[in-house]
């Protein structure tokens, strides 16, 4: 049989009605989407963690200020660099 004749079989498929309850279900789903809100516990947990992170950042910021202000530590680092022959020069293997 010709393929077009075979495919013409598909024209016999009848159009059917959508289920009657569908609109109610769609409305319900839309209403649920509009009402989605984070639980109060989550909001408090989020606020607490944000404050904690902020506090940590501030404390680290002030601590790092103190360490850079103290010059004693810098000389210690310089001594280590000299003793280990560490250099930022591109001249490799001390040629």
């Amino acid at each position: 049989m010709n393929i077009d004749n075979k495919l013409d079989l598909l024209k016999q498929i009848k159009e059917v009605d959508a289920p009657p309850f569908l609109l109610t279900r769609i409305r319900q789903q839309i209403a649920n989407l509009n009402n989605v809100e984070a639980p109060v516990k989550w909001k408090w947990a989020f606020a607490a963690s944000a404050i904690l992170i902020l506090a940590l950042n501030v404390s680290i910021f002030f601590k790092s200020d103190e360490t850079t202000a103290s010059t004693g530590k810098n000389t210690e680092i310089e001594n280590v660099v000299k003793s280990m022959n560490l250099t930022n020069s591109n001249n490799l293997y001390n040629e």
Binding site: I3, D4, K6, L7, D8, L9, L10, K11, Q12, I13, K14, E15, V16, D17, A18, P19, L22, L23, R25, I26, Q29, I30, L33
Partner: protein, 179 residues
């Protein structure tokens, strides 16, 4: 966002189109209902993004429906692919099996029910674009120009897709009839 009265008008005007198109893709009333529901929720949410100068509301709804159906079929296919693995862990996992007995299409009422179910299963196994071209032209009876607009392509491309789809269907029909 669209108001309730407008949405109800859109729903009433397009519900048959969306539900029937879903049925042609998924061949199952339950899944077709679920996808129709998702399509209209999306229409509600994204109505303000629809640009009437680019595509008519009907074309836009056609595109949303087709995309949802193809996504659903992809998900079903991957579920089937990993069905064996998941069945090792979950004894009750039910992988979908695509045979004529699983087709639940209330629009098929002819005497050649089995032949039509087999034909629909062959169409379902086609590549996405060929499947869409065949469904829109042969089942939905849309003109090629409209199909090209829905698929965002040229009429020539639609003709070519139809030609390739017909060749594949012919080949698969010969194989099944030869068995």
């Amino acid at each position: 966002m669209v108001n309730d009265a407008q949405f109800e008008d859109i729903y009433n005007e397009h519900k048959k189109l969306v539900y029937n198109l879903c049925l042609q893709y998924v061949l199952n009333t339950e899944d077709a209902s679920d996808i129709t529901q998702e399509v209209f929720v999306k229409v509600y949410q994204r109505h303000n993004r629809h640009d009437p100068t680019l595509a008519s509301l009907k074309t836009w709804i056609y595109r949303i429906t087709i995309n949802h159906c193809l996504d659903f079929l992809k998900a079903r296919k991957s579920k089937k692919r990993f069905g064996f693995i998941s069945s090792l862990f979950h004894a009750d996992s039910n992988e979908p099996i695509e045979d004529a007995s699983n087709v639940d299409h209330p629009g098929i009422q002819s005497e050649d029910k089995e032949a039509m179910q087999n034909l629909l299963l062959i169409i379902q196994s086609l590549p996405e674009n060929q499947k869409t071209a065949i469904i829109l032209t042969k089942i939905e009876d849309r003109p090629q120009l409209e199909v090209a607009e829905i698929m965002n392509t040229s009429v020539k491309a639609v003709e070519s897709l139809l030609q390739r789809a017909k060749q594949t269907i012919q080949k698969k029909l010969t194989e099944t009839e030869g068995l």
